[in-house]
Structures are given as structure tokens and as C-alpha cells.
Amino acid sequence: MNIVASQAEGRVPVTIFEITGDIGAESSGLLRLEAQRAVEAGTRYLLLDLSAVMFISSAGLRAIHQIFMLLRTDSPEESDDAVHRGITSGTYHSPFVKLLKPRSHVLQALKLAGFDMFLEIHSDLQAAIASF
């Protein structure tokens, strides 16, 4: 797996991770670490470009969930209660982490695990940047 990070300006500055290869047991640690570094360097909005990811394992899903937790804020809209109510009613999606163009197999894994219930999945880069 390889990660190329870049910056884009929408209404807010967005960090884009272009991920290439499989997100498996070992690479998921690296993904989490890179996200951690980006957050320490000031990233608040992260778009994960999954268009070149062939496979995501359960460890990869866990890494994405951990990144989601990392970027969650302490605001009332982000409280445990608000998030679980929002997820259940379908009104909550993370304003901080979004996904771009997962391939069908990866999309299937994300949907199966219910990750589409709290993460927006975009198919267009510009629209994704503008949505933050």
C-alpha cells in the first residue's frame, strides 16, 4: 500500500490521501499512522481516495473507523448520543472524514460493515472537496 497526501481548498482546507494497493492487516497500521501525523500537522478534514484500492480487510475497516474517531470533535453534534441517533435515523455522516470512489469490491465491504451509515461516499473529486 502507498499513500500520497495532497492539499485542496474547498470552503475549508482538505487533506487528500490517495491510497494505492490493498489495505490489509499491516498496511492499515501505516494508514492510521499517516492520518495521525496529518492530524498532528493540522489536518481537520480528510478525504480518503480509494479509487486505487483493490481490497480492504477488516483491519482496514478498523483503521478507517479509528481515523473517524481521531477526527471527531467534542462538539454537542458529535457526542456519542447525537452520533448514534443520527446513524440510526440516517441523518448523521462525518463532516471530517469522507471517502472517494471505492471500487465495487471495497464498496461492498464498506456497505456490508455499515460504514456507509456514518461516512459519505463520493464519486467525484471536486464535489467531494466542495462537500466539506
Binding site: 477488516s58 483491519a59 456519542d80 452520533v83 448514534h84 446513524i87 456490508l112 460493515a113
Partner: protein, 601 residues
């Protein structure tokens, strides 16, 4: 006698004496012969040699004396005659006072004067020091009854013989010293190799080695370098005598021709520089190495079966070149160490493998202990289940149980923990227990998984997710009520239909969010219908080209076995997955449960 013939005679005598002295390494054993020869050649009566005992290994002499050789002594001077050899004589005192520099005539010999009995008419003797450099090792005395026996020429000859004997004695002393040092070194090397071979801990072994090299060669520092994780670099694995520990600083040396260690790794030959700071061409000395102030430098390869497995570097803060014997000692130590390091490495790999195998075995045991012994037996239904652990156990789990209050309802759980090994197996054990104990209270499937989710999140230590499907089957009616938290959708093959359908209701996996409310789905299973539950170990089984078995193949195998029993379908799927992966190692557990409602007769 002409001066020429006198000279010839003198040289002949000296030559003879030298020949005798050189006959044996141990000069003491030939001193008697040399003395006898001298007495005979100079036409004298008798002679004796007394030596000072050495005071230390540095060659200094004590004031104790011993009779070392004698020839034809008169009865009055016999070695066992008591009085004659007690105490010092005047010539010995002169010698100790450094006043005996050449041969001279001792007219009044104090020892002869003290001696009682037959002196065979001996009146005078000449005495000469046995010298080595400016040290007097002893004295040589010769005696004759004739007052004229010791001409100036004879005395000069004696002086020369004394010097010759002194040199021979000194040579013998040095030889003994070397022998002693060799013996000491050999003993130390034996001890060293013995300890190396007994040492099983690699780090301790290497620390011992560098300390021992410093001791053996009186070097200032020693370091052991082995190829590191990154190719092309040697890493410091042990060092001693450095001002700043290069291992702790994670210093590395490029393993190429520019550096001494790199060069030695490639050529497998030792390398030395008397002074690296004066070396031409200038060697590779980065700033951290320069700070150490090393000058004298030697590198030897660690050779095991003709391969260099690393290098040993010895440094001195003064210019120094190792002598041949020091270099061969160093190489010998390095070779012994190489064998011991290879042995210790194999040992530690073996220990690691054993630990891993043990862990895998524990994981498998935990896993197996959780699974039901046999699928349930319910009239009108067939149940079949299969579980195969990956080499590194994943966290698959399945369970069948009937509710105590509603025996006509059969519960089925299939679940998968993210992660592998013992942690995943332990977490699965907890999660499985949580699901089962909640399910036995009779709550609805969605409520059961919701409660299990919250219990898992309270148990935050593991940070693992679980995908789980829980279904309650009314065996009377065939209705299956279920909830699915992120698990692979089970497949239904209705009787008489050629294609599988998914059980569509899903939801977020367990362990991610507190308080999730899962949707519940239901499906009616008619006689002849088949249900297949599986984990992603089935759909994501890989072939040798890393292609997935996939859901499509799974659906096709199930459809192709329409009408077969639950056990037959199960076996067909397992065979298809096994044929597809064709020996490729599977990274995940493989779990499959098949339920079939028997067709109406």
C-alpha cells in the same frame, strides 16, 4: 704464539661455546657442557657458574644466587660440601654492586678461602660477569693452580664468553616468556570458545566477545557489526570502549567498498591501518566516528562456512599495528564467534517459532472450545457446520442453541472478529458469551446484537470489531427472524429456483458505536429451501494469483447442488474453495453453516 694464531684460537673457542649454547632452547641444560668445553679449551682445571634468580617477569634480578653449573670442582668446593656454598663471595657482591664489568683475576677468592679440605692446589680464579645489556645475570668463575693462567688475552676471551652466555640466558628467558604467554593465550582462547559455545543469548554472547577482545589484545575499543534490517548497512550490535555507545545511537556503516567494515565484508580478508587519520586515501570517517579519536584500526571478518556474517572492529586511540600473532588471535576469536553467533541465531529462531506455534495452538484451542460439538438435530431440518482455522487463527465463531423457554425456536449465530491470533480468539470468546447469554433471555435478534454491541464497547481494551449475524428460526413455521451487524449476507436458495438470494437486511458492525439500533429482517423458509451462512474466509479465499473466490462462485456452487442435503452442499462448497485456492495459504478462518428444510415427502 703469534697474535694471528691467538686470535684464531680465541675465535675457535668462542665458536665452540656458541655452538654448545645454541644446541638447546633451554640454555640451563647445556651450561654444564659449555663450561666443560671452556675449561678444556682454555686448558684450565675447574669452573662454576652461579646465577642470580630473576625478580620479576620484566627481567629484573634479585640478590639471591644459585649454583647453575660446575665442572670438575675440587672436593673442598663440592656442591654438597656444606660450608663452601653458604653466603656470598666477593665476586658476587661486586656483581651486585655493578662493579663487575669484565673478566679479572681474583687473587684472593673468598669462597676458596672459606673452603675446607682438598682444594687440589687451586689458588686463583678468574671471574667474569654473564651480561645481557647492562644487566648482570650471574658470574662465571674459572680456576687454575698456575698463577700465570690468566693472561690479559685469556681474560678478554673470558669476558666474551661471559657475554655470550649472558645473551644465551637472556634469549632463553625471553623464549620462556613467549611460551608462557602462548600457553596463557591458548588457555584464554579455550576458555573463550567454551564460553561462546555455551552462551545461547545472542546479545550476551556479543557483549562478552567485544569485552574479551579488548582484554586479549589490550585494545581501547572493540565493536561487532552485523548486517541490519535495511540492506546495504552494517549495524552495531555490541561495543565496548566507545565514548558514545554507537549501538544506542543506532549508528550504521555502509556495507560498501568505501568503508573498512564494508570492504572486509566483501573481501573476507582482514584489514589494518596503523593510523587511520594518516591513511591514504582518506578513509570513511563520519563526524560521530571522528569524535572517538581512533587511530590504530583493524577489521576482521566473522567467517562462518566461508561467508562473512559480520565484522569485528578493533580500535586504538594511539597509532598501532597489530602483530601477526595478535591478528591471528583476533581472527581466531572472530571465527569462533561467527560459529557461536550462527548457532545462537538458529536457537533464538527456534525459540521464536516454538513460541509462535504455542500461541497458534492456544488460539486454536480457544476457538475450538467455543464451537458446538455437533449441529442440532431437529425433525424436518438438516443442520451442517464446518470450521477451519487459518494458520494464524482468526476470530470466526458460530453457535447453535435452542431457547429454554421456547424450544421450538432455534438460535443461530455466525460471527467474525477483526484481527488475528490469541487476542482475536479471546475477544471472540467474550463476544460469543455476551451474544449467547443475551440471546437466551429471549430478546429479539436486533436487541441481542445491540446489547452485545454496548457490552463490547464498555470493554474498551480490545478495540476490536465483530461482524455478527443472529437468527431465530421457528422450526414449526419455518420463519427466520434475524439481525445482521456488518456480517456477510447469508444466501437463500429456494427449492426449485436456480439462483440464490441474499438475506438483505444489514447494519453497522459491533464495537464501533455505542447505542446502535439494528434493523430486523425476516424470511420464510419453505420445505426444500436451503440457507447458507458463511464468513469472509469463504468469499475472500485466495488462489495463488491472489484472486478472490468471491460471492459469485459461492452462489454458483450452491445453485449447482440444488436438491442435495445440507451436508452435501457444505462439502461441495468446501471442496470448491479448496480446489480454487489450490494450496495457497489462507489468511483467514473459514466457517460455513448450512440449514435445509427437508422437502415434503
Amino acid at each position: 704464539m703469534s697474535p694471528e694464531s691467538e686470535l684464531v684460537e680465541k675465535l675457535t673457542i668462542l665458536n665452540h661455546i656458541a655452538g654448545t649454547l645454541n644446541r638447546a632452547v633451554d640454555v640451563h641444560s647445556v651450561l654444564n657442557d659449555a663450561l666443560a668445553e671452556l675449561v678444556r679449551l682454555m686448558d684450565l682445571e675447574t669452573g662454576w657458574i652461579s646465577l642470580r634468580k630473576p625478580a620479576g617477569a620484566d627481567g629484573s634480578m634479585s640478590n639471591e644466587w644459585a649454583l647453575a653449573a660446575h665442572h670438575n670442582l675440587p672436593p673442598a668446593l663440592a656442591p654438597d660440601s656444606g660450608d663452601a656454598w653458604v653466603g656470598l663471595c666477593a665476586c658476587q657482591e661486586l656483581c651486585m654492586a655493578k662493579r663487575l664489568n669484565e673478566a679479572y683475576n681474583e687473587v684472593h677468592c673468598s669462597r676458596l678461602g672459606r673452603a675446607h679440605g682438598d682444594r687440589r692446589g687451586l689458588a686463583v680464579h678468574a671471574t667474569t660477569p654473564l651480561r645481557s645489556g647492562d644487566r648482570s645475570l650471574g658470574i662465571l668463575n674459572v680456576a687454575a693452580p698456575d698463577w700465570n693462567a690468566f693472561s690479559p688475552q685469556a681474560l678478554s676471551l673470558l669476558t666474551n664468553v661471559g657475554s655470550q652466555m649472558g645473551a644465551a640466558l637472556e634469549r632463553a628467558r625471553l623464549y620462556d616468556l613467549v611460551q608462557e604467554r602462548r600457553l596463557h593465550q591458548q588457555a584464554a582462547l579455550l576458555e573463550f570458545s567454551d564460553r561462546l559455545l555455551r552462551q545461547r543469548d545472542l546479545d550476551e554472547l556479543m557483549s562478552y566477545l567485544v569485552a574479551e577482545v579488548i582484554q586479549m589484545l589490550s585494545a581501547d575499543s572493540c565493536a561487532l557489526l552485523l548486517p541490519g534490517e535495511e540492506p546495504g548497512f552494517l549495524e552495531f550490535r555490541a561495543s565496548s570502549g566507545w565514548r558514545i555507545d554507537p549501538g544506542a545511537e543506532r549508528r550504521r556503516v555502509p556495507a560498501d567498498e568505501r568503508t573498512g567494515p564494508g570492504h572486509v565484508m566483501h573481501t573476507r580478508l582482514p584489514m589494518m591501518a596503523e593510523d587511520i587519520m594518516e591513511h591514504d586515501p582518506a578513509p570513511w570517517v563520519p563526524e560521530w566516528l571522528e569524535r572517538e579519536g581512533f587511530r590504530g584500526h583493524a577489521v576482521v571478518p566473522l567467517l562462518a562456512e566461508d561467508r562473512s556474517i559480520g565484522v569485528l572492529v578493533v580500535n586504538q586511540r594511539q597509532p598501532r599495528i597489530l602483530r601477526d600473532e595478535e591478528l591471528s588471535t583476533l581472527q581466531l576469536m572472530a571465527n569462533q564467534a561467527a560459529i557461536a553467533i550462527e548457532k545462537a541465531r538458529l536457537h533464538s529462531e527456534e525459540v521464536k517459532m516454538q513460541a509462535l506455534e504455542r500461541e497458534l495452538e492456544i488460539g486454536r484451542q480457544i476457538q475450538l472450545s467455543l464451537l458446538p460439538d455437533a449441529p442440532p438435530v431437529v425433525p424436518g431440518w438438516e443442520f451442517a457446520a464446518f470450521y477451519q482455522a487459518a494458520r494464524e487463527v482468526g476470530g470466526d465463531f458460530y453457535d447453535f442453541f435452542s431457547l429454554p423457554t421456547q424450544p421450538e425456536r432455534q438460535g443461530l449465530v455466525i460471527a467474525d472478529v477483526t484481527g488475528k491470533g490469541v487476542p482475536a480468539a479471546l475477544f471472540m470468546a467474550r463476544a460469543g458469551t455476551m451474544i449467547r447469554s443475551t440471546a437466551l433471555t429471549g430478546l429479539s435478534p436486533a436487541a441481542v446484537l445491540g446489547q452485545a454491541n454496548d457490552l463490547m464497547l464498555e470493554d474498551r481494551k480490545a478495540e476490536l470489531f465483530v461482524t455478527a449475524f443472529y437468527g431465530l428460526l421457528e422450526t414449526d413455521s419455518g420463519r427466520l427472524v434475524y439481525a445482521n451487524a456488518g456480517h456477510s449476507r447469508p444466501l437463500l436458495l429456494p427449492a426449485g429456483k436456480g439462483a440464490c438470494q441474499e438475506l438483505p437486511t444489514g447494519g453497522i458492525l459491533l464495537g464501533a458505536f455505542q447505542g446502535i439500533e439494528l434493523e430486523e429482517g425476516q424470511v420464510d423458509v419453505a420445505p426444500g429451501d436451503l440457507l447458507v451462512f458463511y464468513t469472509d474466509g469463504v468469499s475472500e479465499a485466495m488462489d495463488t494469483q491472489r484472486r478472490f473466490f468471491g460471492e459469485e462462485r459461492l452462489r454458483a456452487v450452491i445453485a449447482a447442488n440444488a436438491g442435495a442435503s445440507a451436508q452435501e452442499v457444505l462439502e461441495a462448497v468446501v471442496d470448491a474453495v479448496s480446489a480454487f485456492s489450490n494450496g495457497a495459504a489462507q489468511s483467514d478462518d473459514l466457517t460455513l453453516c448450512v440449514i435445509r428444510r427437508c422437502p415434503k415427502p
